[in-house]
């Protein structure tokens, strides 16, 4: 197999405080190949969002990051300012949970989409707009020309998330980081947005790191899953959804209500830090 596009090797993130240190990522390792999608699944506080921040080096300076993160053979942690800027602009595209917080409300959708192209890539305005329109059309936005003149507050959450996807695709990145992109959306909009993301990603052969708390959703859209607990990956691979082996994954899968069968009582997670530490110790022995 060829060199993976993104590789995290034993990444550790430590938050340094005045008198204490807190390890929030503890030895995270995974690889994402060219054109491959990895679903990073975990609950709040498991460290999945910190992982994406580490990948883009957007962690607060109060964190110390150890281990290695390599993108296409280059060490992300070792990049200088200009290499880092290029990496963030051209190589990775980010889609966030709350698109509204990541667009400038006084810029029109058109400005938002074309700005980076015109400024960083030297594409002329008309060409940039043409590309934006074509892409909006591809991601299922009706009347794309009219949308360019609209402002973010005039669009629904689902529509705005499609615009975000279009803006990421316009930059032609090689890796998309999607951090809970559908958590704030209704189920129908979620299905819609994920379908678009999936189909565009496959058509362009892009890699995807998909952060979510929803195992089912991740399983439907990704080639492999990695399940995080307490800053560690407890289990990863293509088998995770169908044949989970780690007790935490098993319990997490069971806790979600099933639309096809009403449970008398939902199983509650019994997995906790104590069991986690014991399992780790046993695995070591």
């Amino acid at each position: 197999m060829t060199e993976p596009l993104l590789r995290l090797d034993n990444v550790k993130a430590t938050l340094r405080r005045r008198r204490s240190e807190q390890v929030l990522l503890n030895g995270v390792s995974f690889e994402i190949g060219q054109g491959e999608a990895l679903g990073l699944v975990g609950e709040s506080g498991s460290g999945k969002s910190l992982t994406t921040r580490a990948v883009t080096r957007m962690l607060d300076p109060a964190f110390r990051v150890d281990g290695s993160i390599t993108f296409d053979g280059a060490s992300v942690l070792g990049m200088n300012a200009s290499a880092l800027r290029k990496y963030r602009q051209k190589d990775v595209g980010m889609i966030f949970q709350d698109p509204r917080a990541h667009v400038n409300p006084v810029h029109s959708v058109g400005d938002f989409l074309t700005e980076a192209l015109v400024r960083d890539r030297g594409v002329d305005q008309r060409e940039a707009e043409r590309r934006a329109v074509a892409l909006l059309d591809e991601v299922g936005v009706r009347n794309p020309e009219a949308r360019l003149r609209q402002y973010p507050h005039e669009l629904s959450g689902g529509l705005l998330q499609r615009v975000m996807i279009a803006s990421v695709l316009l930059a032609e990145p090689r890796l998309i980081l999607a951090d809970e992109p559908t958590t704030a959306l209704d189920v129908t909009a979620q299905s819609d947005v994920m379908a678009i993301l999936d189909e565009q990603r496959k058509a362009r052969g892009l890699s995807l790191l998909f952060i979510t708390h929803d195992l089912e959703l991740a399983a439907a859209c990704c080639d492999r899953l990695a399940v995080m607990y307490a800053g560690e990956i407890v289990e990863q691979g293509a088998h995770v959804y169908d044949t989970p082996t780690h007790p935490y994954t098993v319990e997490l899968l069971g806790a979600r209500p099933d639309i096809d069968a009403k449970a008398e009582r939902l199983p509650v997670l019994t997995y906790n830090r104590e069991i986690h530490e014991r399992l780790k110790a046993e695995a070591m022995a």
Binding site: A195, A255, R256, P257, I259, R265, P267
Partner: protein, 276 residues
């Protein structure tokens, strides 16, 4: 659920139109259009729909956070269509219908200890029954799974699930007949969601309280509700017994909603193709 009882809540041809305030230029928005339903004692009725379907507006009208434009809305025979004027009315209404918000972060006052939040409600509604409001509050917190070590904490020291338990405890403090749960588990982690759904089921079994459960998540609705109504753009497009509707959805919109829920073997579908 026994439908032979008198319904607690009766909504008939409920309508809500938001009009632009003077000076603003936008067309009136018909948020709720001709919605009718009943809520019986000891049942859970789910209102399902996407954002903008008007489901939250229905709930807000029920507790007096919005006025009713047209139609009738009664709780135990008393009309709520006119809105509240007097403090005494508001207190009486609060004892009948309580409300749990979606966001457990902003719906609790960050500067009050949680036991004080609950005790204030107990004192207000005089539900202590022989003990002090504080002792009663501690009992209620215990019953929602928040033991002694949580009592003196502030909301920001708790996780989302624990905060939502506090919000539920606050609702219980008024000893209401109905609790409106407005997307109350939507913002929670899967494992926490399961705990809260179980807790809600326990409370319902113990106190015979009715729920009006507002949600967009059919898997959750299937787990908790007895009956459901489906709303689309302010109108009711489907209603009936939850298990029957979900086992065999007939209405196209209900089918679309059901098809969008991730499950084993599921693939996301684009909306244009979804409705078919």
């Amino acid at each position: 659920m026994s439908t032979t009882d008198e319904p607690i809540i009766v909504a008939k041809n409920l309508r809500k139109v938001f009009r632009a305030p003077r000076g603003a230029k936008w067309d009136p928005i018909i948020a709720v259009d001709d919605v009718s339903f009943e809520l019986y004692p000891d049942e859970c009725l789910a209102i399902v729909g996407e954002s903008g379907s008007g489901k939250t507006t229905v709930a807000r009208m029920l507790v007096g956070l919005e006025t009713v434009t047209d139609g009738s809305l009664t709780v135990r025979g008393e009309s709520r269509a006119k809105g509240v004027k007097h403090l005494a009315d508001r207190r009486r209404w609060a004892r009948e219908v309580q409300y749990v918000f979606q966001d457990p972060y902003s719906s609790l006052n960050g500067r009050q200890r949680i036991v004080d939040i609950i005790a204030a409600s107990v004192a207000l509604h005089d539900t202590a029954k022989g003990t002090t409001p504080k002792a009663a509050a501690q009992g209620i917190l215990d019953s929602v799974g928040l033991g002694e070590r949580f009592w003196t904490k502030f909301p920001h020291q708790l996780s989302g699930g624990q905060r939502q338990r506090v919000a539920i405890a606050r609702a219980l403090a008024a000893d209401p007949g109905v609790i409106v749960l407005d997307e109350a588990v939507a913002a929670l982690d899967v494992s926490i969601q399961a705990q809260i759904l179980n807790l809600l089921a326990d409370i319902k079994a113990e106190r015979k309280v009715s729920y009006l459960f507002i949600s967009h998540d059919l898997a959750v609705v299937n787990q908790i509700s007895d009956r459901m109504i489906v709303m689309e753009q302010g109108k009711v497009v489907d209603q009936g017994v939850t298990s029957e509707i979900l086992a065999n959805p007939v209405q196209p919109y209900t089918r679309a909603l059901r098809a969008a829920v991730p499950r084993a073997g599921w693939k996301p579908v684009r909306r244009e193709r979804l409705a078919v």
